[in-house]
Amino acid sequence: MIIDLPRFIATERPYWQKLEAVLQKLEAQPDTRLSLDETKEFHRLYERTAADLARMDTHSEPETRQFLENLVARAYGEIHETRNRPARMNPLLWFFQTLPRTFRKHSRAFVLSLMITLVGSFFGAMTLAFDPESKPIITPFPHLLQDPADRVAEEESALEDRLDGHKTSFSAQLMTHNTNVSILALALGMTYGLGTVLLLFYNGVILGAVAIDYVMAGQTTFLLGWLLPHGSVEIPAILIAGQAGLVLAHALIGRGDRNPLSTRLRAIGPDIVTLIFGVALLLVWAGFVEAFLSQYHEPIFPYAAKIGMGLTQLVLLTVFLLRSGTSKKNP
């Protein structure tokens, strides 16, 4: 009934110590590759320790059981892990192949993210067009409440650089704020996508309202010159964050996928991490551009140059996301 515990421990302890040593080596150096013989020995030690743990079922001595459970749990994780080992990170390969491929893999979620934002923009534009009094409610930000014509006149006649001495910190604030919003768009995917949809819609509403406000005031050129240099990167970045949130929501809802929830979430984990890291990179660039270029207008920077730059960025980003990493040479 009761096994001889002291003898049991004395006999088996050398095997447990060997297993512990292998585990420590694997845990300290995750890139370690065991040879065939080492793998066989590791597997043998695991099976022996697992069998020892099974023998402990007839003997509920807690300390030995805990010790063995810990060993078996760690070895189980190493032996039964079937996912690819994370290869050593190659930033260029990741940027030029993994990121655009992941974007294309979930292109439907991006289209949905874009559509939600467009619907929000349309709603915001129509609301402001038909009810200009609603401006303080739709765009409750002091710098957006000013009359567009007044602002353009003020900006174009400014003799001093209002961002002088603040450009770098302003840029850092933009980067961190936009990245926070993007991460929130992703994280709200856990509300079955409802939070992500609301966030994208609300962003769209503000964008649409601001756009129509400037267009109706006859300041379309200024609007494009102001928004396109950074917006051509920032807005797609937010849309990609929304895409990641919707991918997460889709996995959570599981429509059309009979796999268990944990399997579905496990499958999309690497993809949403790739997307959000890509978003962070895009937002760093957008932050620089917004602080150092977007806030300067004619006569300092010609609108045509700013619009040209914004459109060029948009085209390059589109080509990058749609074409990069499509070569069959690098599957």
């Binding site: 002291p6 961190t176 929130l184």
Partner: protein, 259 residues
């Protein structure tokens, strides 16, 4: 909150368990991490203030970016470097592990840390706390998305059974038939209870210790009564020590010693 245990059955049919960490202890670990981040930012802030001599603008920018990177990257870096632990989790002996016992992957760490943004809403992890409270595995939303759990790490020590039995004369061993009956009648949990009581004997108050060993002695006497000449003159604790010695040892050649 009572502790819960997650049992994982391996393909070999072996079951091992992980003790899940509840919301309260996890919140405590997070609070320690928050203090660490604040402390590091305090030190870095002092260093960064040197940049203020060159440019105030640059100093503010560096501080803003560093705080952002540290507050988000702290969880990534610590949990990746220390296999699922941060400083707070190390202090409270907690670890993030894969919910199915597999190896923790980098993307799981990133996802669970990024989803703090929604878990921390609206204040002080209200969403995450409520979710983990009702979750069977104490998972907050980030854990659910990343398929991770947070477990308590047990103190890993091998039991020192020999210290209880070595070198003592065992008066009960003179009756092999009664010993055999004892080993047959005593269940594993009863044997464990007796051994644990002996192993932890120094942790008890003197009075409680006497009461406990008296009750246990009475219990084992009722199972198999040994003749009075074998039990007279020995304390209840020594009686229990002899019982445990009989249950856990197979020494046969010389029943009077326990080596």
């Amino acid at each position: 909150m009572t502790s819960r245990v997650l049992r994982i059955r391996t393909p070999e049919g072996v079951v091992f368990s992980q003790t899940l960490a509840g919301p309260v202890i996890r919140f405590s670990a997070w609070f320690v991490d928050l203090m660490v981040i604040s402390g590091v930012m305090g030190v870095l802030g002092a260093v960064i203030s040197i940049f203020g001599l060159i440019s105030q603008d640059f100093m503010v920018a560096v501080y803003t970016l560093l705080y952002f990177v540290l507050s988000i990257g702290y969880g990534f870096a610590c949990e990746w470097r220390w296999r699922g632990q941060t400083i707070g989790k190390r202090l409270f002996r907690l670890r993030v592990v894969d919910a199915e016992g597999l190896k923790l992957q980098f993307h799981q760490i990133v996802v669970r840390n990024l989803l703090r943004f929604v878990d921390s809403l609206p204040y002080f992890y209200a969403v995450g706390g409520a979710t983990s409270w009702i979750s069977p595995k104490f998972q907050r939303l980030g854990d659910l998305a990343a398929n991770t759990i947070v477990v308590r790490i047990p103190q890993i020590t091998e039991p020192d059974v020999e210290q209880l039995t070595a070198g003592h004369f065992n008066s009960l061993s003179q009756y092999p038939q009664l010993v055999a009956r004892l080993r047959q009648k005593v269940s594993p949990s009863e044997a464990t209870l007796a051994m644990q009581a002996l192993l932890r004997r120094d942790d008890f108050d003197p009075e409680e210790r006497l009461t406990l060993f008296a009750e246990l002695g009475q219990h084992f006497r009722a199972k198999v009564p040994f003749p009075p000449e074998a039990t007279d003159g020995i304390s209840e604790e020594q009686y229990l020590r002899n019982i445990v010695g009989l249950l856990y040892s197979t020494k046969r050649k010389n029943p009077d010693t326990w080596v």
